[in-house]
């Protein structure tokens, strides 16, 4: 019992006089956490070792001896490494440009850079396939220029690598740009003053100092590629190229005799790869000394002459035009054609696909309703619990909370297919012989979304709590405010921007989530992503493009709305003036 007590009390630090939670509540909450966040993973691993005869290694022996298994692993690694390389180059380039170089329009550039976070990757994939389709814009352009040859076949290794890379470079960018801004410019000036050239300065000072950020972002891009389901599902499945995430999915929906046991083994392989990636990142980060936390310096440091500056700027905007505008235009064009493959002329234009999607198909309406409801409920409950958790963890740190955070992070760190599979195993029969009917209902999707995305809210809220100095609360207390008055009048107003950041991310992610949903949906609980995916699989490309275009328009409206709120909030409160000392 001693270790349990030690767990609850943290580093022998007691805070007398403040309300503490009673022992039963602690036990109850830790059980809830374990059941929701840890138990599913354990069940999944255990399943791989069981058969009708009891404990066995047979599943592993069979699968590990199958050459096809190693083919799938090889595909997964090759595609992930390749796409990470693209993400690394693009992310580093944009981070350096935005952080250091005196170019115009950075605000808008950043909007375009984070676009892949807002637009789900399967919609991006759909858009690109329309651009390169047999009748797409590229084919049309080739014909117009009388160039022999076919447009690039995206249903291939290179296609997957390319689109995964484009989808994940913002991860490298975001991590790097923050670190670059935090390197004090005096560090570089000191190198120049000691006789180092610009190139020496970059390689001997800037790069080593930015390495923690670059490495974090790159590993995350790698993990995201391992995890991604939408892109290999849309491009790989038709081309019969399997990676681990799509292979697990196909095993499950194939419903073979030992589909679950075999899927479990593949999940352990995929989960193992992901954990290995995380371990590498952790080891690497531990060796690096944390850079002194200094204030982000947003002023440019390199001032190119007029001509190179214009050249770089046009290059960047051309990149955005080609990667972020033209594919989506191609998708819109397909969605406006009454039949796939028709030539794009004014006479052919029609809104009949949109009419079908919005008014006639019962599936799409239900999907929009389902996704909105799921996302909203997940966001609201997550915002309350996540913020409360973040607050406790910062104001009253204990070992229990530290371990709980690991639990909460687990479902998000594990690849989505693995996570979904473990949810199936647990909720089909939480206790042997008892099926509460959660699997196959909307509830399992809600539980899956909640456990998977809670960590996003916790991180958003943690950042918010860290920015509010504890003296803000103490000042309210000595002014006589009760617990509730303190939260209502001081904490919530101050935390709101951060909470909303986290909540917005949770909402957007949940609204268009595909990986988990594709394995957990039922006839009554189809989501937006599932409907688009099934249209595409059934060959209804005009419907899937129309529905996707609608979603994109919805997302853009939502995103613009949020930015407006943020903008006005900032103007009113001056969030950047929050006292940090």
């Amino acid at each position: 019992m001693k270790w349990i007590k030690a767990l609850f009390l943290g580093k022998g630090r007691t805070v007398p006089g403040t309300a503490r939670f009673s022992f039963p509540i602690r036990i109850f909450s830790i059980l809830c956490f374990a059941l929701l966040f840890v138990w599913p993973t354990l069940r999944l691993v255990a399943l791989g070792f069981t058969s009708e005869k009891g404990l066995t290694l047979a599943n592993y022996q069979k699968i590990l001896h199958d050459p096809y298994t190693w083919r799938v692993v090889w595909n997964t690694m090759m595609i992930s490494v390749g796409s990470t390389a693209i993400a690394f180059v693009l992310g580093l380039f944009f981070a350096w440009m935005v952080a250091y170089v005196n170019i115009r329009g950075k605000k808008w550039m950043q909007v375009f850079i984070v676009l892949p976070f807002v637009i789900p990757s399967y919609i991006t994939t759909l858009a690109w396939t329309q651009l390169f389709s047999e009748n797409g814009l590229v084919a049309r352009a080739l014909a117009l220029l009388s160039i022999q040859g076919h447009p690039w076949n995206l249903y291939s290794y290179t296609g997957m690598i390319f689109i995964l890379g484009l989808t994940h470079y913002p991860l490298v960018y975001l991590f790097t740009v923050n670190v670059l801004r935090q390197i004090p410019r005096e560090m570089e000036q000191a190198c120049r003053a000691s006789g180092g050239s610009k190139v020496t300065t970059f390689f001997r000072v800037t790069l080593p100092m930015a390495l923690p950020g670059i490495v974090s972002g790159t590993f995350l891009a790698f993990l995201a590629s391992l995890d991604n389901f939408g892109i290999p599902a849309f491009l790989g499945i038709p081309a019969h190229i399997s990676v681990l995430s799509t292979h697990i999915y196909q095993q499950i929906i194939g419903f073979g005799p030992d589909a679950f046991a075999s899927a479990s083994v593949f999940s352990v392989l995929l989960g193992g790869l992901a954990l290995l990636g995380m371990l590498c990142q952790w080891l690497f980060q531990r060796r690096m000394k944390a850079t002194e936390t200094s204030v982000a310096d947003r002023e440019p440091r390199y001032f190119p002459a007029r001509m190179p500056k214009v050249l770089v700027e046009s290059g960047i905007w051309l990149f955005f035009l080609v990667t972020a505008c033209i594919p989506f235009a191609a998708m819109m064009i397909t969605s406006l054609l009454p039949a796939y493959g028709l030539e794009f002329t004014l006479q052919h234009l029609s809104l009949q696909n949109y009419r079908f999607v919005l008014l006639e198909s019962p599936d799409t309406q239900m999907a929009i309703r389902n996704s909105l409801r799921l996302a909203a409920v997940t966001t609201v409950i997550g915002a309350v619990i996540g913020t409360f958790f973040a607050y406790l963890q910062i104001r009253r740190p204990s070992r229990l909370l530290k371990i709980s955070e690991l639990f909460i992070g687990l479902p998000y760190a594990l690849p989505g297919t693995v996570m979904a599979l473990s949810m199936i195993f647990v909720w089909m029969e939480p206790i042997p012989g008892w099926n509460p009917g959660i699997y196959g209902s909307t509830l399992i999707l809600f539980i899956a979304y909640f456990t998977r995305f809670l960590i996003l809210q916790v991180r958003g809220s943690t950042t918010a709590v860290l920015q509010v100095d504890v003296s803000m609360e103490e000042a309210a207390q000595v002014s006589g405010a009760s617990w509730w008055q303190k939260w209502r009048k001081i904490l919530i107003p101050l935390l709101l921007p951060g909470i909303l950041n986290g909540a917005g991310l949770v909402f957007l992610t949940a609204l268009t989530e595909l990986t988990v949903s594709a394995l957990l949906y039922s006839a009554q609980s189809k989501t937006i992503s599932v409907v688009i995916f099934s249209y595409e699989q059934a060959g209804y490309t005009t419907y899937s493009t129309a529905f996707s275009s609608l979603i994109i328009i919805l997302l853009i409206i939502g995103f613009a709305g949020l930015s407006m709120i943020h903008f006005f909030w900032k103007r009113k409160v001056g969030v950047h003036h929050v006292d940090l000392h």
Binding site: P16, V573, H577, D579
Partner: protein, 352 residues
């Protein structure tokens, strides 16, 4: 409010932040708690505010136990106001809202005051000279103005105890001096007991009725500023408050002979028994003098700092390095050989 602190201790794991503190604060007193960083003064203040509870001993306010290891009255139920080092202004509220917040929430506000809270807010705004800045947000205020808002918020509900945690340390030097006067005015106007934590001995000396010097979680000395400055009880107080040089030597009754100048005889202006036992003489820089005449402790000038109204010398003798402040008439250069002695106004041996 009168406060009685009995045998109070606070430990954090193996670290003892406060050890057996005993202190009585009279109603209406301005008490400064002075000490270097990490001496436990802020911990003591947080115990008084109720943000933390002692692990030993009791704290009484007006005869009622508010803090003990078993029970701690939360801050919002104590009749206190507090000014924070960082000011702790809420970035989403304007100046007026800050003052109103404590008027509306404080649990000891007189009903008459609460009813007329708008008038009281105006009155406080006038007191802190911010009546024309009532609608400004904290981000639009200067350091001194922020400081006054924090002060206004603390005094508006007329608490009987005002706690101040290094309230002037975030301000620049000139403003710091100017604000001292304002704090003294506030003390006179409100009549509240003030407990003021600082690491700046000149602030404590200038404002406090009494001061407490703390070091390593214990009280070194309690007394009026004059007592503490003129008659330090311990070597720590002598060095920390008076910047005294502790010169080694021999005490014979009421006279002192430095080891390095056995012929000199320095008088006893009231040196504490403890220091006498340690065989040292606490000589503040302004009590020492330099001369070229060969009497006193032989020394070499190692540093000269011209201050305008006086000159600060650092000299080295065989026994150590000492600081001597002299008037402008005394001019020595670096490397000069001089003799260190007690200033004649203090020295008895000159008369003998």
């Amino acid at each position: 409010m009168s406060i009685c602190i009995k045998e109070v201790g606070r430990t954090f794991g193996a670290f003892t932040a406060l050890d057996k503190i005993n202190l009585i604060v009279e109603d209406g007193e301005f008490l400064a708690i002075l000490g270097p960083s990490g001496c436990g003064k802020t911990t003591l203040l947080r115990l008084l505010a109720g943000f933390d509870a002692p692990t030993a001993g009791t704290i009484e306010m007006d005869g009622r136990i508010v803090g003990s290891p078993r029970h701690s009255l939360p801050p919002e139920q104590r009749n206190i106001g507090m000014v924070f080092q960082s000011f702790a202004l809420w970035p989403h509220m304007n100046v007026r809202k800050h003052i109103e917040f404590s008027l509306l929430h404080h649990q000891y506000v007189r009903t008459a005051l609460k009813k007329e809270y708008k008038q009281r807010t105006d009155e406080v705004l006038r007191m802190i000279k911010l009546q024309h800045f009532a609608d400004r947000m904290p981000a639009e205020l200067s350091g001194g103005q922020k400081q006054r808002v924090a002060l206004g918020r603390a005094i508006a509900p007329q608490p009987k105890l005002l706690l101040m945690d290094e309230p002037l340390s975030s301000l620049d030097a000139e403003l710091r001096i100017a604000m001292r006067g304002e704090l003294q005015d506030i003390h006179r106007l409100t009549g509240a007991t003030i407990i003021y934590v600082t690491h700046d001995q000149s602030e404590a000396l200038a404002m406090a009725d009494r001061m407490v010097v703390m070091n390593r979680g214990t009280v070194e000395q309690i007394g009026t500023p004059k007592e503490i400055y003129m008659h330090p009880k311990t070597d720590f107080v002598a060095r920390f408050v008076g910047k005294a040089n502790l010169i080694k030597g021999t005490w014979t009754g009421k006279t002192f002979s430095p080891d390095e100048a056995p012929d000199s005889r320095w008088p006893d202006p009231g040196v504490s028994e403890l220091l006498k036992k340690q065989a040292v003489y606490p000589a503040r820089p302004e009590q020492l003098a330099l001369s070229r005449a060969s009497s006193g402790i032989p020394a070499t000038v190692t540093n000269v700092q011209y201050q305008g109204k006086e000159i600060h010398y650092t000299v080295r003798t065989n026994g150590g390095i000492w600081r001597v402040d002299t008037d402008l008439s005394q001019n020595y250069d670096m490397g000069d050989s001089v003799f260190l002695k007690l200033k004649s106004t203090y020295d008895l041996s000159a008369e003998m």
